[in-house]
Each structure stands twice: as C-alpha cells, then as structure tokens.
C-alpha cells in the first residue's frame, strides 16, 4: 500500500466520524432552515393560493422588483450594511494589531471583548435612542454646558437620512466580534514571521502588507461577511432608529408581512427571499475572491 492511499483512508475515517457527530445537528439545520426557505418560496410563488384571484408564479417577485421603492430600499440596505462592515473591519484591524501583544500576555482583554458580544442589538439601539435623540442625554448635557443653544439645535442623529444611529449601533456591536476573531489568528502566528521579515530588511509597512495581512485576510473576510449578512438582514435596529421612509429591505418585508391586507404577505416573503439571495451572493463572491487570492499565493 503506498503512503498516499493510507493517508487517504486515514483522513476519511475522521471525516466519516465527523459526519456522524455533526449529523443530527446538520439534519435539524437543513430541515428547519432549508424547509423554512422552501415553504417561504412556495408562498412567495403563490402556492397555495390565498384566495381566488391572487397571483401565483413569479408575480410577487415582479411586483417587488418593479416597485419604485425597491432600488431605494436596496441602496439604503447596502449602504447601511456595507458602511458599517467596512468601518467596523478597519477599526477592528487597528485595534487587533494594537492589542495583540497585550492579549498574548493576559486574558483580561478577551474577557473585556466578550462583554459587548453578550449585549443584544436591541439594547444598544434603545440606549443610542436615549443618548443621541434631540431630547436625549447628550443634547441635554450639551445645552446645560452651553455647547449648543437649545436641545432643538442638537444635530439630528436618530431617524436621520444617513442612518447615523443605525451605523453607530452596528459598528459598536461588531468591532468586538471582528477583533476577537482577528486576535485569535494573530496570537497563533506569533512574531517569528515578522522577525524573519525584519531580518530581510522589510519595512513595517511591507511586513504588514506581505506577512500579516495575507495571514489574517481569510479570518477578516469571514468575520466581515458574517457582519455584513447580519446587518443586511436585521430588522430591529433600522426599525427603531431609521426613518419612516425610505425603509430598509427587512423593515419593508416585515411591514408587508404584517399588513392588514393578507394578500401582501407573499410580497413580504418575496422580499425576505431576495435578502437571503443577496447574502448568499455575497458569500459566494467572497469565497471566489479568497480562492483566487489563495491560488495566487500558492502559485508564487
């Protein structure tokens, strides 16, 4: 027996065991999520028809895609999810690099990072509402200290067209998450590679760009993707802190789904499926990007 096959069987055995161990959980996830998605798809396609004369087929999707609000809502949702992800990722990168030495020495930083992870988005959203709204803490403090003329002169940060409070919530919430993921990788690579780079006279910038970044890129990408997918599909934060109009896609889906007119329910489901589709597309794109970059690294 040549070593290659024996190594192959040696590897397949744990795979089978892994499947056996993961099987029950995987089955449940596939059943609940896959089944839910499938049922949703059926309803969005109008099966079974709610009443005579309701549309079936792709009618609901066409209606949503053809709605004048759709590009606006999609743009707003992409803006919120994209901006918060990019800002959170950049800040986390800086934070992780700054903290890595400290994190290697003590576990305190891990503990500190875990605290915000346990706080629900909803709590942060409400807190920001209390702090940032025109009658909130900050504006009262500002007017008491004479920084702004009156509470009404305080800049609009909640329910504003730029979604400042929404972005703040997501960024505040996601920085610890991404930092946590990055620290785990950074701690494991140690300082040897960077030291080798230094002996080869690589500058700080070169060491960062050619050693550190390629190593943490997969984790950074994966963490950002999770954050993006969450922010793209989450409902509660834009519902509380966003404007009445335009709506983000998840809020629009909720409004259609809970409309008095039960016939607009399939539209709500269609919007939700479009959200799911967009997120899947993002995952696919990210996979492709990572793959091609890895191949380039390998080919070098």
């Amino acid at each position: 027996m040549d070593p290659a096959t024996s190594a192959g069987t040696g590897r397949s055995c744990p795979v089978r065991r892994l499947l056996l161990l993961l099987g029950p959980a995987l089955f449940l996830i596939l059943l609940l999520f896959g089944g839910g998605l499938l049922l949703g798809l059926f309803q969005a396609l109008g099966y079974p028809p709610l009443s005579a004369g309701s549309t079936s087929g792709l009618g609901h999707f066409q209606q949503v895609l053809g709605d004048a609000d759709f590009p606006r809502s999609l743009g707003l949702t992409l803006y919120i999810a994209g901006t918060s992800t990019v800002v959170a990722a950049l800040l986390s990168l800086v934070l992780a690099l700054a903290l890595v030495n400290w994190a290697a020495r003590s576990r305190l930083i891990h503990f500190l990072l875990q605290i915000p992870l346990a706080v629900p988005h909803l709590v942060i959203a409400i807190s920001l509402l209390l702090i940032l709204s025109p009658s909130g803490l900050l504006s009262r403090l500002g007017s008491a200290l004479g920084l702004v003329g009156s509470p009404a002169a305080f800049p609009l940060l909640v329910n504003d067209p730029f979604g400042v409070a929404i972005l703040a919530t997501y960024i505040w919430k996601e920085i610890p998450f991404i930092t946590f993921m990055l620290l785990a990788v950074l701690k494991n690579i140690g300082s040897e590679l960077a030291e080798v780079g230094a002996t080869l006279k690589a500058s700080r910038r070169q060491r960062f760009l050619h050693i550190t970044l390629p190593i943490i890129a997969p984790s950074l990408g994966a963490a950002s993707l999770i954050v993006f997918a969450y922010a793209f599909g989450a409902f509660e934060v834009p519902y509380l802190l966003g404007q009445t109009y335009p709506l983000t896609l998840p809020v629009w889906a909720y409004k259609s789904y809970s409309d008095i007119d039960l016939l607009s329910r399939p539209e709500g489901i269609a919007i939700s499926l479009l959200i799911t589709g967009t997120v899947l597309l993002a995952v696919l794109l990210a996979e492709l990007l990572l793959h091609s970059s890895r191949r380039r690294e390998g080919g070098r």
């Binding site: 009404a152 809970s258 008095i260």
Partner: protein, 420 residues
C-alpha cells in the same frame, strides 16, 4: 383472580358507594355557596368544568403598562382563584402578526392545539379573521354575563362596520382624546380646524405616529371626518367617488401639514409610546390617545407632569368598543370563554374602570346592573386629566367601516409619506 371473592367485590362496591355518597354530600354543601341569581345555562357548567386547570394564552397589544398590569395582576389572580385558570399574557405589537400566523396554520391544516387562546382584536383584523374563517364561534351569546351588555348599541353590534354576530365579546370601550400640558399650552385648540392652524403657527411642535399604527391611523380618520365634513354618510351607502374625493382632501391637508410637523415630516414616531415620550420630553406640545383614561394613568405613573389635561374636539372624536375573540384552533377554548365571561362581570368591569388601574369605559351597561352596583360605578373617582363621562359621551363619533380605514392607510403611505 383468587382474591376476587364475592366478599371482596362487595367490600369494594361498598367503598365506591361511600366515596360517591361523600362526593354528593360535598356537592350539596357547596351548592348553596353558589350565587342564587347566577341563572347560568347548564352547558356553562360543563364549560367551567372543562376550563379548570387550563392555561389561557391571551395575545394582546402590550404597549400599555396599565393594561398589562391589570391583566397580569388582578385578572390573572381572579381567574386563578375563581376558576383554576392560568392566564398568560402574550404581548404583541400588532395583533395582525397573530392573524398571519393563524392563516398559515389554517393553510397547513392545524385545526387544533393552536398556541393562541384569546385575542384582543381590533376592527380591521376582526374583518380579516371573520372573512377567512379564523375565529371560533359564535360564542358570545353563550356567555352568561352578556346579559349586562346592550347589544342594540351600534358600536357593540358591529366592529368597524363588520357585524359581530357572536364571534367576539366586548370588554371595554375607548374614545380618542387629545393630550396637552396646561402649563405649556394654556389655550389649546378646540376644533380640528383650530388644531391645524395651531400646527401651522407652531412648526415642529406636533407629530402623529405613522399609519398603519393604530393611534396614528385613528388621527388620519379624524382628519378624514374633518375633510369630508361627514360622519353618518360613511356608516351607510356611499358612492366610491365620494370616498375618493374625501380621501383626496384628507391627503391634501396632511401633505400641506408635513413641513410643519416634528422634524419637518421627514420621519414620524413609530408608535404612540414614542409620541408620548416626545411629548413628555417637551419635543412636541400635543399627544393623543385612543383612550380617555391614559393621560391620567401616565400622571399617576409619573410619566406626565400633573398639569397635563385632555380635551376632545367640539365636533367630537372617534370611539369604539374593544373586543376579544377566540381563534378557530385554540387549544383551551373553554378557558378562553370563561375569561371572556369574567371580563364582562361587574367586578372586573369596575376594577378596570378605576383610574389608578386603567380607567377604561365599561363594556356593560351599568343600567342593567343591580342598584348597588350602579352606585359603585357612579361613585368611581376620575383621574385628574380624564374628562367627565357626559362630556365624552356627548362627543362620540362612530368608526368608519374598516374598508375605509384600510383605504386611508394605504393612501396615506402613497400620497402623504411617499408623495406620489
């Protein structure tokens, strides 16, 4: 086998006989304890028996602390001690969410074992539920306490233009009132027209929740009555063109109002809870509530300053009756009916009407009660901000049919919010 000798059988029989006898004796003792005037139909006894030990999940709007503490406190305690029923409040933002769920369950063929047993339902959702067969019943006429209800009253016989037909049971009634702070606004406007002028003269100091929020939608209907100059017309036969014209005039008024609203109309409070906190924070000068007793409640809770008062428009404000319904697939139907019946009892109605509890209008007609109960209702103290019953009742306008309500909500989205 060998033990089943005739003697043993006889002894066992004797035991059973004794047990049955003592049961009957116990019943004889208990019977006189029951109120003599209950006059309950025989099948009601069966309902009471079936209801014992059940857990009733009451899905209801959970946005009012007063209602929540009434339901979870007094009501839960009483139905537990009187009927052995565990009452669980399930707060929702909008009962339409539950109607969606029921529709899915109906499609999926889940005809029993549903999680919701009792619903606090509003007119438009009642119409949806009735037309899709999502409600159990008719059950209202089987409730013994419905004899206190005046079913001839139009606001009880039909819910937003949809005939009730025993599919829901009333439990209270409410009227829209405007809320203001007499310290800030000593002379509030007294008609809708005056209010509109006031908003124009004081930009940024008024807001209303965005429909389809229940309270915001009620405000739009109030403007609709003002714009059309009609109330009775919408109760009967009207031509589609008349509705279009009146709705168009309503949207024009609200569009013109937009630049003068809070934040220039760029955004709206998402709920009356938010509007009330804007009012309490001094960002806006008026709030309003589809409940005459809310403002007093909020003063007692310390959320509003004691100078807050309410008023109704000279032309009147809209009012309605609130109802409970039972879903078609409720697991604990008997328990739900017992709770619905207890809600109509003089005790529960009086407790609910006390200003420090909720200050809700009774759903029963106190004139049908024994004199001592009539006196208790007459002796109820009023909250500091609640108007007198005579003032309120003199200005009650009926709700338009729910078709008009839905029409206005959709139209508002398109013509006022999005300005198409």
């Amino acid at each position: 086998m060998a033990q089943s000798t005739p003697r043993r059988i006889r002894r066992r029989f004797a035991h059973r006989f004794q047990a049955a006898l003592s049961c009957w004796l116990l019943l004889l003792f208990l019977l006189p304890c029951r109120p003599a005037d209950s006059g309950e139909p025989p099948d009601w006894q069966e309902t009471l028996t079936a209801a014992r030990g059940q857990t009733v999940d009451w899905y209801m709007w959970g946005g009012s602390p007063a209602v929540n503490s009434f339901v979870n406190g007094y009501l839960a305690r009483e139905v537990q001690s009187r009927f052995g029923i565990t009452l669980r409040q399930v707060p929702v933002k909008d009962i339409a969410e539950v109607m969606s769920k029921l529709l899915v369950e109906k499609q999926a063929g889940k005809m029993r074992g549903g999680s919701a047993d009792l619903l606090w339902i509003n007119g438009e959702n009642f119409r949806t539920g009735k037309s899709h067969g999502l409600l159990y019943g008719p059950f209202a006429e089987r409730l013994p306490n419905q004899r206190y209800v005046d079913w001839r009253k139009p606001t009880v016989a039909s819910d937003f233009g949809t005939p009730v037909e025993g599919l829901e049971s009333p439990w209270g009634s409410a009227q829209m009132v405007m809320i203001y702070d007499s310290a800030r606004t000593p002379q509030p406007p007294r008609t809708v027209a005056e209010l509109l002028d006031w908003i124009g003269a004081n930009p940024g100091r008024f807001a209303y929740p965005a429909p389809p929020d229940f309270t915001g939608s009620a405000f739009v209907r109030q403007i609709f009555y003002h714009a059309s100059g009609e109330v009775e017309l919408w109760q009967g036969e009207y031509r589609p063109a008349e509705l279009e014209a009146a709705a168009g005039a309503t949207y024009t008024i609200l569009r013109d109002l937009k630049p003068f609203l809070w934040r220039g109309g760029s955004t709206y409070p998402e709920s009356p809870v938010r509007m009330n906190s804007l009012f309490a924070d001094g960002e806006i000068d008026f709030s309003f509530s589809y409940h005459q007793g809310d403002a007093s409640r909020y003063i007692l809770d310390g959320l509003f300053p004691p100078t807050v008062r309410t008023f109704i428009f000279a032309e009147g404000t809209i009012s309605n009756t609130h109802f409970v319904a039972i879903p078609f697939n409720a697991q604990d139907q008997a328990g739900a009916m017992v709770v619905a019946n207890f809600l109509l009892s003089p005790e529960a109605q009086l407790e609910k009407a006390r200003p420090e509890v909720w200050g809700d209008f009774p759903a029963i007609d106190p004139g049908r009660l024994p004199p001592e109960w009539q006196q208790r209702f007459a002796d109820l103290p009023r909250g500091p901000a609640t108007l007198a019953d005579e003032v309120l009742q003199a200005g009650q306008l009926p709700e338009p049919p729910s078709t008009i309500l839905v029409h206005l909500e959709k139209g508002w989205q398109q013509q006022v919010l999005k300005q198409r």
